[in-house]
Amino acid sequence: MIETIGLSRLFGGKRALDDLSFRVEPGTIFGFLGPNGAGKSTTVKILAGLLRPSGGKAFVAGFDVVASPLEVKSRLGYVPETGALYESLSPAEYLELVSCLHHLDPKVAATRMEELLDLFGLEHERHQRMTEFSKGMKQKVVIAAALIHKPEVLFLDEPLNGMDANMAMIFKELLKKLAAQGKTILFCSHILEVVERICTRILIISEGRRIIEGSAGEICRSTGTETLEQAFAQLTGSRDAGQVTADFLAALEKV
């Protein structure tokens, strides 16, 4: 379970989050959407214990993220947008580190590591340093690290970054199965087709504030649009794409 109550965060004088409240039930893949700078990553960072809120409350798996950060973190799997990892380590070394930090039994950790590396097609690269890896390969390791301790709650910030179509398909299927097992999944992405297809509920925020929440169908109905993409554009005040590109092309012709 994830819950925020009146969450806010200030950066200097700028309000990145403003009285944001939502609740995600176990077994849900919750799409968390917004234009650039809307406050998605800030929210996820607060929930993962990377930032402290300026106001309001946040709970993950029943624990207050400020009062009990270690309880939250031990139940959490996080795929950050940056995909940061220690690139000078091999996938096996990195996953071993993460499993140690989560106090996994070494035998259990080794078995899960094998399974995850096989799942992501990294079984032959397990002992290679990640400095030479492609973006997609690194992303697979980050995802494997987020799953190795079987977390109750998953925060996925642009998890499909760099992933090929086949792997993305497997990953989406995996998410559905994890949700069916009762895991709570917060999914941030700009690929709205994917969000529309796999998320059971969706929240759209803009300028740190809640705009709308519901299933993809409910959001489309309430905005009178046919797709989530159209609904998103309408709700977040996107400029007319046709007009913008026409202006750009005209500017190119002038020079």
Partner: protein
């Protein structure tokens, strides 16, 4: 035992062990350990080679200071010299590796969402720092410490005291730097601080390496043998004396002048550890990464305006690229600037035997004194050209492959750029020194013309051997190029032999000299045609390294 101790400190033992092992692995694989040019994508065999080399360098440095311990039997004096030197070197090396060893901004992005307490992280980082400073102090100090054990008969207590003093002084130095660095970070932007530290390193390395040459000439063995230190209050302002007092204690001298400084050393170490606690927390790593991400603020806006022959096409592109890299890439700028102190050092070494002699007047008689200067003049352009091909941002070289640029022209113009903007000003500066000693502008001009022609010849040979595009190769990979090493070592020797031959047989005959200079220029032109063909052929088969 260790587990109980760690747990007693309120630290998660398994997490501490995992974090410590990983951070040591990362240090081994990533850290520079004193080298300015070492990439972080190295494979294990070259990493071991680097470590092996470093080990020998540190042992050599320790051996130099060990000679003081060997010559001077006053334990307090030789201990103070040894510890001052060790602390200085440790400070310099920790400064070089600060980002990787002491506090790593990337830790926050990777570990902040893991269930690790601040205390566990702190103790893991502190362990890492202790291991690092222990490695440095032990490799630097192993020879002096061994000498303390054995120089005046077997004195195990003295040796042990030297060992503990080296270890604790190294740790104290590392912790002091941590606090100093983090205090300054409150006032100055991290990028500005890094820039300042790079210049400090440049000067410090010049002083340290220069010191090996200067000091033995200033202080002879006889004088070192009789030197002592008066234990005045002022002397104890030098922190190394606090640790050196352990040596007197080991010899059974338990007066106030011995006990008090030792107590001060323990109090200061305790304060440093307490002060470091807040700086080695994950939260601090977050602050550091956040401040690094912040803009440095509006700086001076200055655009590079390529002039003279670098006005169009590939020539202009190269001039813009190199000019801007020099302005903004600290590593490249330092690689270029580091040539200056080395030149001064070589000049000094050449001049210490007496003034430079005009080769037109003295022939080859005074040639040996100037040989190092000629090696420097002929070797540095080739080094510069090599520096120009390496960059940490080598992945950006895709642009050479995705645009309709003539790649061979980029290579040739980068050679020309080095010659016009680095070699010619460098030779002009050297020319001023020659003018001071030769007193004959005509001789200086002829001599410089020969040097310029030979420098250009070496640049051509370097480009012929390796037609790498500007800033297109990872630093380490380029360094391993055997042809480069060959050019760097063999070619200047060949050129010095040529210069010797010129000054002995050609310089006395000016018309012959002029004819040979013209011949050399003609040969250079012919070689340029061959270089162009070779570069075109090599560039046709070049592939993006990313």
């Amino acid at each position: 035992m260790l587990r109980s101790l760690i747990v007693l400190m309120g630290v998660d033992y398994d997490q501490w062990l995992a974090l410590t092992v990983v951070s040591l692995k990362l240090d081994l694989r990533v850290a520079n350990f004193g080298a300015l040019h070492y990439g972080n994508s190295g494979k294990s065999e070259s990493i071991f080679r680097v470590w092996f080399l470093r080990l020998w360098v540190y042992l050599f440095m320790g051996g130099m200071i060990g000679s003081v311990v060997w010559i001077n039997k006053n334990a307090f004096f030789s201990g103070t010299v040894f510890l001052t030197y060790t602390m200085l070197l440790t400070a310099m090396l920790v400064l070089v590796d600060f980002g990787a060893i002491v506090i790593s901004p990337e830790d926050f992005a990777i570990l902040a969402y893991q269930p690790v307490s601040s205390r566990t992280y702190f103790v893991a980082r502190l362990t890492n720092l202790l291991v690092y400073s222990a490695f440095l102090t032990l490799t630097l100090g192993i020879i002096p410490v061994a000498l303390f054990f054995f120089t005046s008969g077997f004195r195990p207590l003295l040796g042990l005291a030297a060992f503990v003093a080296a270890l604790l002084s190294g740790t104290g130095t590392a912790l002091t730097l941590l606090l100093f660095y983090t205090a300054i970070l409150r006032l100055v932007h991290p990028k500005k601080l890094r820039r300042a530290i790079s210049y400090i390193q440049l000067v410090a390395s010049f002083l340290i390496y220069g010191g090996y040459i200067f000091l033995p000439r200033l202080v002879d063995a006889h004088r070192i043998k009789i030197l002592t230190l008066d234990k005045s209050v002022w002397l104890f302002l030098l922190p190394s004396t606090w640790f050196a007092s352990y040596l007197d204690l080991a010899l059974g001298r338990w007066g106030v002048a011995e006990v008090a400084p030792a107590i001060v050393s323990f109090i200061v170490l305790g304060l440093l550890i307490a002060g470091a606690r807040g700086k080695l927390a994950l939260e601090y790593s977050d602050q550091l990464s956040a401040s690094m991400a912040l803009s440095e603020g509006p700086g001076k806006v200055s655009s590079t305006r390529p002039g003279w022959i670098f006005k169009r096409g590939e020539a202009r592109a190269v001039a813009l690229l190199v000019g801007n890299q020099f302005k903004h890439d600290q590593k490249f700028r330092l690689a270029v600037l580091s040539i200056l102190p080395l030149t001064v050092l070589y000049l000094w070494m050449g001049l210490r035997e007496g003034p430079l002699r005009d080769p037109f007047v003295s022939g080859a008689a005074g040639f040996g004194k100037s040989m190092l200067i000629y090696v420097a003049v002929l070797m540095f352009p080739t080094m510069l050209r090599q520096t120009l091909t390496n960059s940490d941002s080598y992945l950006a070289s895709w642009i050479y492959y995705a645009t309709p640029v003539e790649r061979s022209q980029l290579v040739l113009w980068s050679k020309n750029f080095v010659f016009v903007y680095f070699v010619l000003p460098y030779l002009s500066a050297i020319g001023m020194v020659f003018l001071y000693f030769f007193r004959n502008p005509w001789h200086v001009l002829l001599h410089l013309t020969l040097l310029a022609l030979l420098s250009h010849l070496f640049l051509q040979i370097a480009v012929f051997a390796n037609s790498a595009l500007p800033f297109s190769q990872p630093v380490r990979k380029a360094q391993r190029s055997s042809s480069f090493v060959g050019i760097l070592l063999i070619a200047p020797m060949a050129a010095v032999a040529l210069l010797y031959a010129f000054s002995r047989w050609i310089y006395p005959n000016i018309p012959l000299l002029l004819a040979l200079l013209a011949g050399l220029a003609g040969f250079s032109w012919l070689l340029e045609q061959m270089v162009q063909m070779q570069v075109r052929a090599q560039c046709a088969s070049l592939e993006y390294q990313g």
